[in-house]
Symmetry: C2
Subunit: 374 residues, 2 copies
């Protein structure tokens, strides 16, 4: 075999649906010397990460930690732990990730009931209420707070409240939400949530913060049959991550350096403050809207439901989707996202996530699009 040489990635401006621009400070943290996953210094780091995630999720949940795999595995961790064969789960679908939730329910042997809303619209709480009333056997309600495929924010507080009124465990996808818009796990009574690191935390992709309420933890310890995934079985993961266990026991080898990075990214969020981070995302979103509006471009989503961190822009008539994205990448080192599913070819997904939500990026994006399209 021919000798392969080291990889030197280009310096991209990441304005797609994630990963977002990773600050040098986080890259530097990730490259510090690797230590053992049972080293007392590492256990201390784990405890700090749990505290910091509690801060980001606004929760006191003891079971708050990162899953050692990407957001898709975070989603799976929530479903395989909380859904047993035969359990009815109400899944709200208004984009790709609602569909993925249904896949998860099916593969757990659960029974998925769905409420469907058009892609680009939020989940309709009235439909959810009707569905919950129609079937009192529904045990779990699942929805996506910030839909990465459509740029829509649904009303997580209202949806979770409906779920709790009807005795459900509530699972919320906060992959694209966390750090970009308000997420209040405890106030809203969300029982399980999974987030992403490579979105509004501007961290490396590869791990997924999760949190489970006491009610979810009770379900976990009272399961009739074992969790179908050994790797994602929270009963086992807890033995390694739970701070009330005096002696941490080995479950799997944690992704040490990825956790250095997560720790640093959460410290940066703590330094900035949640409200300030949300305000920055909102301000950059407004600036982007103004800039793209000046080019005559329209947003897919009604203003009330727009995510500041992920902007779905309708591709103007006569403009070649792929050609423009390629030109942005090749000539401007700027990545924006393509549409998914039924929105492919119709929209671009422009991310302003975490460290990508800066004036410099907004200006770069608007001026590049102006040059290419006009």
């Amino acid at each position: 075999m021919e000798q392969i040489t080291s990889f030197n990635p280009p310096h991209r401006i990441l304005m797609g649906p994630g990963p977002s621009d990773v600050p040098q400070r986080i890259l530097d943290a990730s490259a510090r010397p690797t230590i053992g996953h049972l080293d007392p210094e590492f256990i201390h780091l784990m405890d700090e990460i749990k505290q910091l995630l509690g801060f980001a999720f606004r929760t006191e949940n003891r079971l708050t930690m990162p899953i050692s795999a990407p957001g898709s595995a975070g989603m799976e961790a929530c479903f395989v732990n909380l859904v047993e064969p035969g359990d009815k789960v109400l899944v709200c679908i208004n984009g790709v990730f609602g569909n993925r939730m249904v896949e998860n329910v099916n593969r757990c042997g659960g029974v998925a009931i769905t409420v469907d809303d058009e892609w680009g619209k939020p989940v309709d709480p009235q439909k959810v209420e009707d569905a919950l009333k129609a079937d009192p056997e529904i045990k779990v309600l699942a929805f996506v707070h910030a839909e990465t495929s459509t740029g829509v924010r649904s009303d997580a507080a209202a949806l979770a409240s409906l779920g709790k009124e009807h005795g459900c465990l509530v699972i919320a996808d906060t992959v694209t939400a966390l750090g970009g818009i308000d997420v209040r796990i405890d106030d809203w009574r969300i029982d399980a949530s999974y987030a992403g690191t490579q979105k509004c935390l501007s961290c490396l992709p590869g791990v997924s913060p999760v949190t489970f309420s006491d009610e979810a933890a009770a379900k976990l310890s009272n399961r009739k049959q074992p969790v179908q995934s050994w790797f994602l079985d929270m009963n086992l993961v807890m033995a390694y991550w739970d701070d009330t266990t005096a002696q941490r026991s080995y479950h799997h080898t944690a992704p040490i350096n990825a956790l250095y990075a997560l720790h640093e990214s959460l410290i940066m969020l703590q330094e900035e403050g949640l409200e300030a981070a949300f305000a920055r995302h909102k301000a950059m979103h407004d600036k982007l809207k103004e800039g793209l509006g000046g080019l005559g471009m329209e947003f897919l989503v009604e203003p009330e439901y727009q995510l500041p961190q992920l902007n779905l822009v309708c591709i103007p008539d006569g403009v070649d989707d792929a050609a423009v994205r390629n030109q942005l990448l090749e000539e401007y080192d700027l990545e924006i996202g393509a549409g998914l599913g039924g929105l492919a070819g119709k929209v671009w997904r422009i991310g302003l996530m975490g460290n990508s939500a800066t004036e410099k990026n907004v200006n770069a994006c608007v001026s590049a699009l102006a040059n290419i399209i006009e």
Copy 2:
């Protein structure tokens, strides 16, 4: 919440059962700027990683790629994809990881049949042959090539050959083997294998190289029911990783920077050459044996079955296991591993994996133990 500050890990010498010492060159690679998981430059990197893994595994298997999660998930990927409910699986147990395989079979709804050998002994091929003859319905044979809990090398070639003679798919755990001792996926006709990055590749923990033969791929595409894990469903993962697909489609967000690191570690293995790497592990193992022998210390495993990369040393009578390990860590910044399960308190696990297999490390370990124990 009090402001948490950045983490600065100590510089440890890692001589436990993994992670091993990560070369600065790999840390540097991991900290290069993050790019998108669908960026053409990243797709090119993925293709090179597949080639390099083919080299390391000595395989032409098209389905050769890293799973985006640690070795435990690599194990799970092999089982959930290849075992369907009711399938009989013969699992060879001679340590912790054989037991974990049984857990995986059970959680797939498979029927585990086991052949057991004492911890510290290799898998006995005669027992395997007897078991395969006794039950022609066995569809899968699974064993651990290099047992990380005991430091034992089993005869992978002989075991795989027995499995194939009896019409089984063969799953081999090569987590601790890959890069440290010879692994020949194609020559030995192993159908599925998963490895670790943080062992003899001296890379960051967090991803797990896997490979599947054409026969395994056929089983995959002819399953009667979907794989129970969405995240680990190779039918879906292939759409992202498979080089014959013209347009890669999004499955999950790859751990970009962890893959920069894996790529660099495999390049380093290619530069050194497999045979040279194996010889280095063997030479350092011999040197460690000589040094520890001089201290009157004995090895748990018979010489014929000793893994050069993981040395199980009996703790001398009257020596306090935990106290010595703590002293090594605190005064010498040197990590060695504790015994697991029935071997806890009886042995130390001294790793000479990848970049940790150096004269400097052997000398540091032997002299530190001499100072502490004598």
